[in-house]
Amino acid sequence: MRRVPVPILAYFAVMAALPLFMGASGLFYDAFQAIFVFSLVGLGLNVVTGFTGLLNLGMAAFMAIGAYTFAILTSDIYPFQIGFWWGILATVAIGAVAGFLLGAPTLGLSGDYLAIVTMGFGEITLDVLKNLDAVTKGTQGINPLPRPTFGSWSLDLQEERGWYWLLLGFVLLAVLAVRRLERSRSGRAWLSIREDALASQCMGIPPKLTKMIAFATGSALAALGGALFAALLSSTGEPASYDFQVSILALCIVIVGGMGSVAGTLVGAVVMVGMNSLVLVKLADWAGAAGVGNASNVLASPNNWKYLIFGLALILVVRLKPDGLLPPRLEGSAS
């Protein structure tokens, strides 16, 4: 078995140790819990877009499917109530099936058409969640959701560190799974389809089935991210929490990090989500403390600069580091 690359080891070592220095609660945890959730979604999209070269603009829909599946299977307002762990397992399975089913009729489409179909799927999912409020509870979201239990002990919502490490553990599992898959028969088939679809078909790789497996894997990971996002809030939140912006955020994570690179995706999530939920919030605090953040002037509130900073960052990254911050190493160079 290949050694785990240094950046990934370093990432998990640093991340696991960080809370020991950060106190028991605070903004840090909100930011990093979000970073881990989006790392899962990013890892999923990395399989689809990074490894297989299929542009998916609807990852938020799979997150939403995960969150609502988990909520319906576990919340006490529905009859299933299968508990946290079975709920997570079932969600991953249903996420995979959803990806497989969306993939079946659409993966024959060429790149940009596939992108628009996935975007449309995202919009349709959002509308269905909004409109079927008898099942999804509309803007209220489904809540409360069960806490994870370990034997007789269960993880309290206020236990920020526990949630942090739990989510980090899921990211670790996902990284191991994705790296394992990347080296498997399917993984090699994904890369070959991305590099040269015609040649790989000539070598006997079934293109559609291979793409469908990639789609199912990516969706399963995104659904896992969605389920954990909901569990973390003890609510699915409103359907708008899974809008197009979220899909774009996932795409930016993969591209800024480095397409096809697992370590890159982890870094991309820290940079993109961290900027969103840590840097800007901090800036707003400082501005408030300095007394410049008054409501009458739109320029004075740092939060109003969010999209501008986000947009500039994207343009600069693709200009200065076109392969991402941590591009994948060439196959065979490090075995």
Partner: protein, 319 residues
Amino acid sequence: MEWVDFFLQQLITGLSNGMIIALIAIGYTMVYGIIELINFAHGDLFMLGAFLALTVLGAFGLGDWSGASAWAAVVIMLIASAGFCGALNWGVDRLAYKPLRNASKLSLLVSAIGASFILVNLGLFWGGLPMDVFAGGVAAAAPKDFPALVPNTNLLGDDSLVQFTPKDVLVWAVTVPLMIGLTWIVTRTRLGKAMRATAQNPVAARLMGIDTDRVIGATFLIGGALGGFASVIYSLYNNTISFQMGYRAGMDAFTAAVLGGIGSMPGAVTGALVIGLVRSMSDAYLETRWTNTIVFGILVLILIFRPSGLLGSRAKEKV
């Protein structure tokens, strides 16, 4: 025959909205045709065009617009927004896309998403301008009222159940000549020939002595200007604008472009008319809240059974 009137009404609304979407969709399809980029920033460019139009109007003062002065103001806004959006689109290409001509298509797409975010943010700031038209700029993010320069009177007489208003006339009077002019440019002029050549094969076009950078710049300029025209008639038709409206408009227009077969201009117009009609019919006969689902559902179905769009000619991917 009340149901006939009702149906005719939806037909008029749908086609007028469709023509507005068509102008935006052409901007998408032209850029896609020439550099294979989904120009995410295009919808937000359209939004800024509307803000510019409102600013121009505000600079003249919020008087009692009527008759000839109202029509003069409409013409001035059309010219200002078209010029502004054309120049802005050209500038966005220069700054965000041109340095990436040889990069992967995905990098280009991310750059476009970045540009889109920046334009949205500029729209938010713009709404905070301390002008009367922006309600003093106090609530920057709130939707802005756009003065009703074009009256909503019924040209078919007050007794008619079908509304056909000067607004509809405005839409058709602006869009049809623009489309004819564009078709003339693309099919009859030297620039149009260069554009078609670049779209077909940029390398070969360069070898034939075509300055492809200039052609691409001109494409962005024209596409942007069309978006500017669209922003003014949209604002006059709907009388409210918001810095977030670019997303919805862009989504509809891009869907229209794909529906018709991206890269094809008649396709974009056809697709836009279909989207406009589907929207108005669904709003009227079904429920408004399901309209988006229906629009995208139709898109997905058409793409599954006709992967290159209604009028597209490109073959399905080989594998």
